[in-house]
Symmetry: C2
Subunit: 244 residues, 2 copies
């Protein structure tokens, strides 16, 4: 049977999701845990290749394995073989033709910015430290330009290969929480490589006046990565949810 699995992890100590030789990755640790439970190597396929330092509370993956363990208990059985910074939250059976990437209807990411002169050490691994004061109203206004279907080439890491750079952003929510963290939450039908981090970097530039609110539209139209802001660092990013 094909098993769809929801995974949460603290990405701090991993070289990202994707298995690679000589580095500890989330995929490898999960495959080892599943191997330890079922006694054989089973390849897993993730929905999203998160980068080194990026976190997830709603990553998804599938693997093929027949089992008599009830789906309610399988997460606990696998978690027994996982370190405490990776946890399986849920497992469910899906049809044979289910694909974790292609069947995704929409995904939600949150990017966190800590916006004070001196960093709060509790967020060293969980937020981007931006010192200049950010004008959240301007960020919200600029974010509105991103909503809808656009060619997001300006917000895609150079060298990335995609058949099309057209994606739809359904919503962007930007607000400051109780801990002085600015949370940028983006929901869309798909995301290009580094897209959320480049959007967050560009919104920060707009927030402290290095770019203007109306520049966001020009940046989209330019289809040119060099027009957008910097790629915000990985530790601020959380893959929150993937809906099918």
């Amino acid at each position: 049977m094909k098993i769809l699995t929801t995974v949460a992890y603290d990405g701090t100590n991993y070289y990202g999701w994707q298995r690679q030789n000589g580095q500890i990755t989330v995929q490898e640790v999960l495959e080892n845990a599943i191997k330890n439970l079922f006694g054989k190597h089973i390849e897993i396929r993730g929905a999203s290749r998160t980068d080194s330092g990026v976190h997830a509370t709603g990553q998804r993956m599938v693997f093929l394995q027949d089992t008599n363990i009830p789906m309610n208990n399988l997460p606990l059985a696998i978690n027994n073989f996982l370190p405490k910074d990776i946890k399986i939250l849920k497992t469910q059976e899906v049809k044979e033709n289910f694909h974790p990437q292609y069947n995704a209807k929409n995904k939600t990411y949150t990017y966190k910015i800590y916006n004070e002169k001196i960093m709060n050490p509790l967020y060293n691994n969980y937020a981007w430290h931006v010192k200049p004061t950010l004008n959240i109203e301007n960020m919200v206004l600029a974010g509105e330009s991103l909503v809808g279907e656009h060619n997001f080439l300006s917000f895609c890491a150079r060298g990335a290969t995609s058949k099309t750079f057209v994606r739809t952003i359904y919503s962007i929510d930007i607000q400051k929480n109780n801990d002085n963290i600015i949370e940028i939450t983006i929901n869309g039908n798909g995301f290009l490589y580094n897209m959320v981090r480049i959007i967050s970097g560009t919104l920060a530039y707009i927030g402290y006046g290095k770019l203007k609110v109306e520049d966001m539209k020009h940046i989209i139209d330019a289809k040119d990565r060099t027009k957008a802001g910097i790629t915000a660092p990985p530790q601020g990013l959380i893959l929150k949810q993937i809906n099918y």
Copy 2:
């Protein structure tokens, strides 16, 4: 001159605040940084002795040192010599007779509980994982009994020495935030050893029905540590603020 200093730290990798032989403590690291800046050992005095694993965003300390560095710049000067998990947020000159503990009017602590069956790995070092579903309404009701002036002997670690166990709690706020974290925020004129952690452990017991709402009053009256709940683990606790 006497310098009052506001300090934030991630307590994960320290054996608490208080200097002790053979262990890395927050106090020792701060004294070493100040020594590196001023070229001599200067003793610091903290307002609160946080335990191993406990965090702070508003710890306070004082030290005696004449300096020409403006108070706005001194935090950055000291931070240069600190690891990234300890940061000086603010320095200000105070009178010679100022005492960081005795002059404190009130302190605020927040205790965080992650209340799902499977732990969110992003909170491993920053929250207590409680699996049974907590009834927050019952916790709020029980919390109300704690507000006011009481003898809190039932909520003090055994063996602790204090002249009096009478303290005043001004407010308790309990709510669930967006990340499924239950935050217990307590403001009071002073706290006994482990008091916030024992209160949090007792509120959790009430939240999942191991104790009843009305038991809170009986526990206070009993003046007996064995009547209260467990001492919640250190990583959920943050010293937020000390007001003078």
